[in-house]
Symmetry: D4
Amino acid sequence: MTQKPEVGILMGSDSDYPIMLEAARVLKEFEVPFEMTVSSAHRSPGRTSRYAREAAERGIRVLIVGAGAAAHLAGVMAAETQLPVVAVPIDSSVLKGLDALLATVQMPSGIPVATMAIGKAGARNAGLFAIQILALKNPALAEKYSSFRKDMADGIEAKSQAVQERLNKDLG
Amino acid sequence: MTQKPEVGILMGSDSDYPIMLEAARVLKEFEVPFEMTVSSAHRSPGRTSRYAREAAERGIRVLIVGAGAAAHLAGVMAAETQLPVVAVPIDSSVLKGLDALLATVQMPSGIPVATMAIGKAGARNAGLFAIQILALKNPALAEKYSSFRKDMADGIEAKSQAVQERLNKDLG
Amino acid sequence: MTQKPEVGILMGSDSDYPIMLEAARVLKEFEVPFEMTVSSAHRSPGRTSRYAREAAERGIRVLIVGAGAAAHLAGVMAAETQLPVVAVPIDSSVLKGLDALLATVQMPSGIPVATMAIGKAGARNAGLFAIQILALKNPALAEKYSSFRKDMADGIEAKSQAVQERLNKDLG
Amino acid sequence: MTQKPEVGILMGSDSDYPIMLEAARVLKEFEVPFEMTVSSAHRSPGRTSRYAREAAERGIRVLIVGAGAAAHLAGVMAAETQLPVVAVPIDSSVLKGLDALLATVQMPSGIPVATMAIGKAGARNAGLFAIQILALKNPALAEKYSSFRKDMADGIEAKSQAVQERLNKDLG
Amino acid sequence: MTQKPEVGILMGSDSDYPIMLEAARVLKEFEVPFEMTVSSAHRSPGRTSRYAREAAERGIRVLIVGAGAAAHLAGVMAAETQLPVVAVPIDSSVLKGLDALLATVQMPSGIPVATMAIGKAGARNAGLFAIQILALKNPALAEKYSSFRKDMADGIEAKSQAVQERLNKDLG
Amino acid sequence: MTQKPEVGILMGSDSDYPIMLEAARVLKEFEVPFEMTVSSAHRSPGRTSRYAREAAERGIRVLIVGAGAAAHLAGVMAAETQLPVVAVPIDSSVLKGLDALLATVQMPSGIPVATMAIGKAGARNAGLFAIQILALKNPALAEKYSSFRKDMADGIEAKSQAVQERLNKDLG
Amino acid sequence: MTQKPEVGILMGSDSDYPIMLEAARVLKEFEVPFEMTVSSAHRSPGRTSRYAREAAERGIRVLIVGAGAAAHLAGVMAAETQLPVVAVPIDSSVLKGLDALLATVQMPSGIPVATMAIGKAGARNAGLFAIQILALKNPALAEKYSSFRKDMADGIEAKSQAVQERLNKDLG
Amino acid sequence: MTQKPEVGILMGSDSDYPIMLEAARVLKEFEVPFEMTVSSAHRSPGRTSRYAREAAERGIRVLIVGAGAAAHLAGVMAAETQLPVVAVPIDSSVLKGLDALLATVQMPSGIPVATMAIGKAGARNAGLFAIQILALKNPALAEKYSSFRKDMADGIEAKSQAVQERLNKDLG
C-alpha cells in the first residue's frame, strides 16, 4: 500500500480484525489504496478524534469503521469529520450485534453514519460502498465495478446448476 | 427544481412523504437539485427497476430511498444501479420500524445499502450524507457543509443556556 | 423429475440448499414434480424477475422461496407473478432469522407472501402447504395427504411409549 | 352472500373484526363468496374443532384466520383440516403483535400455516392470497386479479405526481 | 409408578424429553405419582383433547406441559380442562425459546396457563409448583417441601465457601 | 370482605391498581374471599418479606402478585413462602411490559413463579387460576367454574352472530 | 445554586430536559449543589470532551448523563474523565429507548458507565445514586438519605390503605 | 485479603463465579481489599438481606452484584442498603442475558442499581467503577487509576501496529 490511502479502515479493538479484513480484501481487489488502524472511542479518545480530524487533509475520502457492543466509534468519528463514514456493527457481545447495530444506526439528526449489515457481510459491503462513492468521479473504477457486478450475476447461474446436481445426488 | 437533479429521493408509498420531506428540506437548504418519486418494490416493480437502471445516465449521483414494513425498496434499487443508495427505514407498521430497519440494513454480501436511523432523523441524515458524498468533489458544497456543522455546534451553547433558564424557573 | 414441474423452489444463495432440501424431500415423497433454482433478488435481479414472470406459463402453480438476512427474494418474486408464493425465512445471519422473518412476513398491503417458520421446519411445511394447495383440485393427492396426516398422528403414540421407556430407564 | 362460501374467515374474538373486515372487503371486491365466524381456540375449543373438521365438506377451499396475543387459532384449525390456512396475526396485546406473529408463524414441522403481516395489511393480503389460490383453477378470477395488479401498478404514477405537488407546495 | 398418577406431564414432541425429565425428577424426589405422555397440539389434536378432557376424572390434579416454537400445547390443554396447567416453554427453534415463551404466556383473558422459565429451570420449577399446589391439602408433602427449601438455603453457604477457595487459588 | 381471605393480591405500586382490580373482580364474582395490599420489593422490603412469611398461617392459600419494570415482587414473595405465587407482569415502563415479563418468568431453578400474560388479561387469568387451584378441594367452586367455562363458550356463538350482522351492515 | 457544583447533569439535546429535570429535583431536595448543561457527543464533540476533561478539577464529583437513540454521550464522557458517570437512557426514538439502553449499557471492558432505567425513573434514580456516592464521605447526607428511605417505606402503608378504599368503592 | 474489605462481590449462584472473577481481578490489581460471597435472592433470602443490611457497618463501601435470568439479586440488595450497588447482568439463560439486563436495569424510581454490560466486560467494568467511586476520596488510588487509563490508551497503538502486520501477511 505505498500509494496515498483513499480509504481509512478503523476498528475499535484488534479482535475486530477478522471481520474488517473483508473490507480490506475488497479494496485490495479493486486496487483502491487504503490504511487500517485500531483506535477506540473509549480507551483512546484523543487518538480517535485526531485521526478523524486529520483524515481529510491526509487525502482520505471515505472512512470505514467497525465496532461492537455499545459501538460508538463510527458516531464519534462522524462527529469530527465531514467525510462519509460507513459503519460495520460487529457481533462481539452476547447480544449478537443487536446492541452494535442500534448503537450505530440510530444516529440523531445532524450527524449521519451509513450503516451496513452486522459482521462480515457488512464489512465486505462497506468496502463495496466506498468503491461506489469513489467511482462517482473515477470512470475506470466505475467500469471495474460494473464488471464485478456482471460477474456476480453470472456466477449465480453456475451455483444454480451445482445445486441441481446436489439435489439429484441427494434425492436420486 | 429546474436544474438537472443530482439526488433522487424515492419512497415506497405516498404515506412516507412526511418523513422523506426531511431529506428534501436538507437538499434544498444546501441548494442541491433533486427529484422526488413514489415507486413500490412490490406494487410497481417494473417502474422501480427502470428508475434504478436509468438514474445514473440521467445525472443522478445519489439515491435516497425510504420504505417501511418489509422494506425491500432500497435493496431492490441497489441491485439495479451502482450509484450509492442511502436508505431510510420508516416506522409504518405496528413493529415501530424494527421490521423496516432489519429488512433494510441486513443486506447480503455484494449489494450494499447505506442505512440511516428510523424515521425523520434518518431522512434528514440521508440528505446530509448525500451532501457529504457530493461535497467530495465540490469544494463550495464542502465549505457550506463545514459552516453548517460549525453552526450546529455553536447552537448547542444557546440551547444549554435556555435549559438553565428553564431549570431556574422550574426549581426556583 | 422428467415431468413438467408444478412447483418451483427458489433460494437466494446456494448456502440455503440444506434448508430448502426439506421442501424438495416432501414434494418428492408426494410425487409432485418440481424444480430447484438459485437466484438472488440483489445479485441477479434480472434472472429473478424473469423466472417469476415466466413461471406460470411454464406450468408452475406454486413457488417456494427461501432467503436469509434482509430476505427480499419472496417479496420480489411475488411482485412479478400472481402464483401463490410460499416463503421460508432462513437463519443465515447473526440475528438468527429474526431479520429474515420480518423482511419476509411484513409485506405491505397488495402483494401477499405466505410465510412459514424459520429454517428446516418452515421449509418442510412450505412443501406440505404447496401440496395442500395442489390437492384442492387433485383428489388423489388429497387422499395421499390425508393418509400422511393420519400416519403422523398415529406416530405420536409410538413416540409416547418410547418416552415412557426412557423415563423408566432414567428414573428407575 | 347467498352463494355457497368458498372462503371461511375466522377470528378468535369479536374485537378482531375491524382487522378481519379487510379480508372480507377484498373477497367481496372479487366476488368470491365467503362466510365470517367468531370462534376461540381457548374459549370454544369444541366449536373451533368442529368448524375446521367440517369446512372442506361444506365447500370451503381456503380458511383465513385472525387472532392476537398467544394466537393459537390458526394452528389449531390447521391441525384439524387439510385446507390451506392463511393466518393474520393481530396486534391486540401490549407486545404489539410480536407475540401473535411468533405464535402463528413458528409452526412445527408437519402442520403448515401461511402467515401474513400483522394487522390490516396482513388481513387484506390474506384475502388476496386466497384469491391467488382460487385463481389457479378459475381463469376468470385469474384475469380479474391480473387487472387488479395492473391497476395497482398504474396507481403509483398518480400518487407520485401528487407527492411532487405536495413537495412544490411545502418547499416552494 | 404403580400409584394412580396425580400429575400428568405432557410434551409436544419426544425431542422435548430431556427438558421435561427435570419435572419428572422433582416429582419422583417428592414421591408424587405422575405419568408422562407425548401428544402434539397440531399433529395429534384428537389425542390431545381427549387427554385433557379425561385427566381430571382419572385423578390427575395438575398438568405440566412442555412445548417449543409456536407452543400451543399448554393453551390447547387448558381450553379442555379446569385443572391447573403449568407450562414450560422449550428452546427448540432458532429463536431460542422467545417464540415458545410468548406463545405460552400471552394467553387471552378466560383461559389461564401458569408459565415457568424457558427450558430446564422452568421444567424443574414446574415440578416444584405442582408440589406447592398439592401441598395445600397434603401436610406431609408441605412438611417435606419445607425441608427442601431449608436445605436449598443451607446449601448456599457451602457453595459460597467453595467459591472463596476457588478465588484464593485463582488470585493467590 | 369480612370472611378470612384465601387469596392475597399484592402489587408493587398503587399505580398498578387498575390492572390488579381485574383479579379482584374475578374472585368477587366467584365469592372467594381475598385481600389487596400494596408492598414494594424495593421500597418496603421488610413489609414485603413479612407479608410473604405470614400469609400461610393467616389462612391465605394463593398469592397473586402484580409488578412492572424490573418486576422483582413475585420472585421475592415466592422466596419467602411455599404458597403458590401467581404473577402478573405489568406494562408500566416504556418497554411495554417485556421487562416485567422477563423479570418475572425467568425465575431460576428452585423457586417457581406462575406467570400470566402482561396486563389486564393476565390479572383476570391470575384470578381464574387461583380459583382453579382452590377448586381442587372445593367441589362447589369447581362446579361454579365449570358453569363459567360453559357460559364463556356459549357466549362465542352470540358474538359470532353480532359480527355477521356488522359485516352485513358494513359490506352491504 | 451559588455553591460550587458537586454534580454535573448533562444531556445530549434540550428535548431531554423534562426527563433530566427528575435528577435535578432529587439533588435540590437533598441540597446537593449541581449544574445542568446541554452538550452533544455528535453535534458538539469539542465542547463535550472539554466539559468531561475539566469537570474533576472544577470540583464535580459525579456526572449524570442523559441521551437517547444511539446514546453515545455517557460513554464519550466516561472516556475523558475518571469521575463516576451515571447514565440515563432516554426514550426519544421510535424504538422506545431500547436503542438508548443498549448503546449506553453495553460499554466495552475498560470504561464503565453506570446505567439506570430508561426515562424518568432512571433520571430520578441517577440523582439518588449520585447521593449514595457522595454520602460515602458525608455523614450528614448519609443521615438524610436514610430518612428518605424510611419515609419511602412508610409511605407504602398509606398507599396500601388508599388502594383498599378504592377497591371497596369499585367492588362494593 | 487480610485487610478489612471495602468492596463486597456477590453472586446469585456459584456458576456465576467465572464471570465475577473479572471484578475480583481488577480489585486485586488495584490492591483494593474485597470479599466474595454467594447468596441468592430467591434460594437464601434471609442470608441475602442480612448481608446487605450489615455490609456498611462492616466497612464495605461498594457492592458488586452479579446475577442471571430473572436477576433480582442487585435490586434486592439495593433495597436493604444505601451503599452504591453496581450490578452485572449474567448470560446464564437461553435469552443470552437480555432477561438479566432488563431485570437489573429497569429498577423503579426510588432504589437505584448501577448496571454494567452483560457478562465479563461488565464484571471487569464493575470493578473499575468501584475504584472510580473509592478514588473520589483516595488520591493515591486516583493516581493509580489515572496511570491505568493512560496505559490502556497507549496500548492501542501497539495493537494497531500488530493489526497492520497481520494485514500485510494476510493480503500480501
